[in-house]
């Protein structure tokens, strides 16, 4: 009987939210690509019951041995620098965690296993000598928080990272915006 006392508007709102959530099925592949180079971010998402799972793959270059292959990464004979980059720094895939979808809002977390200094590779591998940024594996973890608005075949994301109290190798807060489009 209590249910009957709920305002009609609230019921409608809940109904709309429910419909909206159902409409925003993000399962599938999404991609951001920089126009000037081979940098890309590929999301492979699976949505179920308001939760999201999947992977995020980051790349600095494209490497595709066969131009007709379905791989995202190809060897372009006209771009030797790009090939070198792709060979030495191949794409890296991360599992996403804490994935949620509510209406047209999606959020998830990417964990980076940040590094400590020096792992025997000639001094301080992975540390930005020019900027003193970070090193190879063995350090703390950094969380990257993604929040996106779904609009048809596009998701406009903001990625935030914040200093980890008690952690190290992350200074300041970062917030970057980018859009992915659905790959058919």
């Amino acid at each position: 009987m209590k249910l009957c006392k709920l305002p009609v508007a609230a019921l409608l709102f809940l109904l709309m939210e429910s419909l909206s959530a159902q409409q925003s099925d993000v399962s599938g592949k999404w991609k951001w690509e920089d126009a000037s180079g081979g940098q890309s971010i590929v999301l492979e998402l699976k949505s179920a019951g308001g939760g999201i799972s999947g992977t995020i793959t980051m790349a600095q270059a494209a490497l595709k041995l066969d131009a007709d292959a379905k791989s995202d990464y190809y060897l372009n004979p006209e771009n030797a620098t790009n090939n070198m980059r792709a060979l030495f720094f191949p794409p890296v895939t991360f599992r996403i965690t804490d994935g949620k979808i509510t209406g047209n809002t999606i959020s998830f977390t990417q964990v980076s296993h940040n590094a400590a200094q020096g792992n025997g590779f000639g001094g301080a591998p992975g540390v930005f000598g020019g900027f003193g940024q970070r090193g190879p594996a063995g350090g703390g973890m950094e969380k990257l928080f993604y929040t996106g608005k779904i609009d048809g075949d596009t998701i406009q994301f903001t990625r935030e990272s914040r200093p980890n109290p008690g952690g190290h190798l992350v200074v300041g807060t970062h917030a970057v915006t980018f859009s992915v489009t659905r790959v058919r």
Binding site: W32, D34, S36, G37, G38, Q39, I41, M58, A59, Q60, A61, N82, M84, R85, F88, F89, P90, P91, V92, T93, F94, R95, Q110, V111, S112, H113, N114, A115, Q117, F121, G122, G123, A124, P125, G126, V127, F128, G129, G130, F131, G132, Q133, R134, G135, P136, A137, E142, R159, E160, S161, H168, L169, V171, G172, T173, H174, A175, V176, T177, F178
Partner: protein, 356 residues
């Protein structure tokens, strides 16, 4: 009353110190606390240090301003000297003989700097990387000689640096200080916020952030917060910046040194990074009324540091302060200091500011 600004008769060292940097700062709003160091020079370029507050008139865009703070040269200077011992400014990684040699030269230059201070001057020294450490609490130049341990100033504690946080900390260290106040920071300005991020997966495969180079509103907000703190403090910051164009390189997983452009698909990323570093330093200097001294090598680093008391006209300059309540209009506003005695020339540390 005759006003001469930056005329050839002024000794070169004073000119160099007092020329204002006029790079546009970034956005902000509010009241503007303006401090100006002024040397009163006679026709021979000799400073007159016997003037009173009432001998000065300050105008902003021609409108007379009320001087709210005044310190004569004999009040002494309060100098907070901060050393970046993160060592990213060194050519060769972060340690070893080359690093120690460079620091030894800086230690000698620091001694030369301190020797030129007057008994009434106060100095404090700190070092920083990701955290600030006090190497020398505030003290006057009286008493036992000021010494700075090479180990303390050169020991790198962290692979990253927090320049913005260090600047905010620095502005809070002058609460009870009387007399002229200055912050001098030896740094290449490579705050870790500006560097492209570097991520590693669970199985420790590494990747440079593909989004590096896109506008970062998080960094921008923290920059604005830092600029506000500096503006509100009214304390000028002078940066001694070694090797501003040193390559943006890093040691990659193979142990080779990579130029940023070698690993990023964005071929402009390294240039963008270096430009951003310069821009941030210049914004901090501009809002504070200080300046950036770009240093080209070890010799220029040590000589600039040794000559800094003369360059900044310590103990020859009056410190004048006023507050402008104009709205933030993004415009440059001209400041003029006039001296009642028309025979004296006012050499100003800044000729104006951007109300942003």
């Amino acid at each position: 009353m005759r006003i001469l600004k930056y005329c050839a008769a002024i000794p070169v060292f004073v000119c160099a110190a007092l020329l204002a940097s006029a790079q546009p700062p970034s956005q902000n709003a509010g009241r503007f606390r303006i401090s100006i160091a002024v040397a009163a020079l006679n026709r021979a370029g000799v400073p007159d240090t016997s003037l009173k507050q009432s001998d000065f008139k300050v105008t902003e865009d021609g409108v007379v301003q009320q001087i709210t703070g005044f310190a004569p040269p004999d009040a002494g200077s309060n100098i907070l000297l901060i050393l970046d011992h993160n060592n990213t400014w060194l050519d060769d990684a972060v340690s070893g003989r080359a690093a120690m040699d460079a620091w030894q030269k800086i230690q000698i230059a620091l001694s030369n700097f301190v020797r030129q201070l007057q008994p009434q001057d106060r100095i404090s020294v700190a070092t920083f990387d990701d955290k600030v450490q006090l190497a020398l609490p505030w003290r006057t130049h009286k008493g036992p000689p000021v010494t700075l341990s090479l180990k303390v100033i050169s020991s790198r504690q962290s692979a990253i640096k927090d320049l913005y946080g260090t600047i905010q900390w620095a502005t809070r260290q002058f609460d009870s200080a009387k007399g002229r106040k200055l912050i001098v920071i030896f740094t290449d300005g490579r705050d870790a916020r500006l560097a492209p991020q570097w991520f590693a997966s669970e199985d420790y495969h590494e990747i440079l952030d593909p989004l590096a180079g896109l506008p970062d509103t998080g960094e921008a907000a923290e920059l604005q917060s830092g600029l506000s703190a500096v503006r509100n403090s009214g304390i000028p910051i002078y940066f001694l910046t070694p090797f501003p164009d040193k390559s943006a390189t890093f040691a990659g997983p193979t142990g080779w040194d990579y130029h940023l452009n070698g690993i990023s698909g964005n071929s402009a990323l390294a240039a963008q990074y270096l430009a951003k570093v310069r821009s941030r330093l210049e914004q901090f200097a501009e809002v504070s009324g200080g300046r950036v001294f770009y240093l080209t090598g070890p010799e220029s680093t040590t000589s600039t540091l040794s000559q800094l008391p003369a360059t900044l006209a310590l103990n020859q300059s009056y410190d004048l302060e006023y507050t402008s309540s104009r709205p933030a209009d993004n415009q440059f506003h001209r400041i003029e200091v006039r001296i009642r005695d028309g025979e004296l020339t006012a050499a100003q540390s800044r000729t104006g500011y951007y109300a942003k």
